[in-house]
Amino acid sequence: MKTINFFIEIKSGQQPIIKIANMVIVALGQMSIHDKVFKTAYFLYKNESIGFDTYNKEKSAIELANHILNYSLKDINRFEKIENPDINYSRPYGFTFGLQFKEAGKKVLSLTFKLGSNSNNFIGTISISKDLNRDLNWYKYVIDSFVQTGNVKCASARPNDTMYLEQCIKLYRFILGFITYFSNDYGLQIPNDLKDIEYEHISNGKYLVLKREDFTTNEEIYEAHKQRLLNVMEEIKQRVPEYGF
């Protein structure tokens, strides 16, 4: 079975830790309504992970903020020479951290976050277990939960395939997935009539959907869809040259 990974680009801007935590908790709280796997998040420390509830908005945000602060403390002391920062602290480079989610005691999803910086903020994937059986709508729902916070620039649920990613990263500004989101202020005008693409327009932007049904168990179909994605990206590049390098 092939896996699909998330990559969600977040709008840039230096943000204090508590604001970052608020945004993440709002999205996780939304996600936990539909999937209980998101009700508890485990903050990834060097040698352990510490669980906390995600559905008590204010309390959860403060808890996450304190985890981010603790995790970054040594780094802040070393680089910014600030001895006692609190959760209102911000810095140009932002903060990196990881969250894990478990199902029946097994770790099934780990996401990495780089947020609150002046440039290049994103939510990426460390791992998605094959034990996490979810259809493509679930991926869209996760992306949409972050989109609803108003902070997403673009996002995709894309093949976890080294060769595909390696090929695309050199050619295109943003790698398309089976489900891709572009916000209205993405910066490039992504065409609304790309071949093989189904569109869903929302107030903040638009979704480009290649396929909704699950095909990850069929390698042949998976490869064919991957090729279709490459074709779509090439078409965008032809029509919007700035999309390419």
Binding site: T3, N5, F7, L44, Y45, K46, N47, E48, S49, D75, R78, F79, Y93, T96, F97, G98, Q100, K107, S110, T112, K114, S119, N120, F122, G124, T125, I126, S127, N160, T162, L165, E166, I169
Partner: protein, 296 residues
């Protein structure tokens, strides 16, 4: 010649001829000599009181006997006579207990060239501090001859605000296969595993001949990734991403200035996939370890 006592004169008289004795007498007027004998020997080796005057200011008195001994080598004495600055190099090597370098004309020349011309903003004192750094901590450079080459590479790379320091590499116990080989892997890159190339507060393991800042990772295979490049140790994967981000911050976001070298194909595949999934464009390559230490 008021500074010399009777015994010192006697000692000089025994080892030098009249011309040399007179030269020593002249030197004595210039230098605050309390022990005449070593200087007499020095003069007999170098044959010029003016040279002695200059060298006397560079060689500490407690190192004088060693210096005279090393002058037995024609290569060394010729080098010193030709370029008195070599005495500074010799003294610093000696102070740092880098005997091998102090006796090697090529290393002395290399040191002198680097002091005169380097892009790291290092002056004589800076070189001295770097070479003495392990001694201050009660440690030693494992491969001192590699240290100067590393400084040269770093200088040639012309990287703004790059500095070189000594780092404490975790000491490998006699049976610690992992630490020993991790250290060996770093040594094969920079020349000495304790070398740290610092940019923006972040430490790198080497500066390659192509000018890239290099981070070396030993292993990083099955302990973090499964056979299909999937992550099995998420905390360590997050640490790798943190480290990559810190390095990117240190070079102003330009990933093309950094390269990660991984000792295992499994580690390469896993880290490459992890980076691609998180839009980290640092180059990741496989560099096999040349010499494996011990058995697992």
């Amino acid at each position: 010649m008021g500074g010399l006592d009777k015994d010192a004169y006697k000692a000089i008289d025994e080892v030098v001829d009249e011309k040399t004795f007179n030269a020593i007498a002249k030197t004595q007027d210039v230098l605050d000599l309390s022990i005449a004998d070593p200087y007499a020997k020095l003069l007999s080796k170098l044959g010029d009181v003016n040279i002695i005057e200059k060298i006397a200011g560079k060689i500490p008195k407690d190192k004088l006997s060693d210096f005279i001994k090393d002058l037995e080598s024609a290569d060394f004495s010729n080098l010193i006579i030709k370029n008195l600055d070599m005495a500074d190099a010799w003294t610093i090597f000696k102070n740092a207990e880098l005997e091998i370098l102090a006796r090697n004309p090529l290393q002395l020349q290399k040191f002198n060239d680097l002091v005169k011309n380097n892009q790291l903003g290092l002056e004589l004192k800076g070189f001295e501090d770097l070479l003495l750094a392990p001694k201050v901590k009660g440690l030693r450079w494992d491969n001192p001859d590699g240290v100067l080459d590393a400084i040269k590479r770093a200088s040639d790379a012309k990287i703004d605000f790059l500095s070189i320091n000594h780092k404490n590499f975790p000491e490998a116990g006699s049976d610690n296969f992992v630490l020993k080989n991790a250290k060996q892997y770093q040594t094969e890159a920079s020349g000495d595993a304790a070398l740290s190339f610092n940019k923006g507060g972040v430490s790198f393991d080497d500066v390659a001949s192509d000018g890239k800042l290099v981070d070396r990772k030993w292993g990083h295979g099955k302990s973090i990734f499964d056979e299909e490049r999937g992550v099995i140790n998420e905390s360590r994967a997050q640490s790798l991403l943190d480290q990559a981000q810190r390095q990117m911050n240190a070079v102003g976001g330009d990933a093309s200035k950094i390269r990660w070298e991984i000792s295992t194909p499994e580690g390469l595949a896993g880290i490459k996939n992890l980076f691609l999934n998180n839009n980290i464009e640092i180059e990741v390559v496989h560099k096999a370890q040349m010499t494996i230490i011990g058995k697992l």
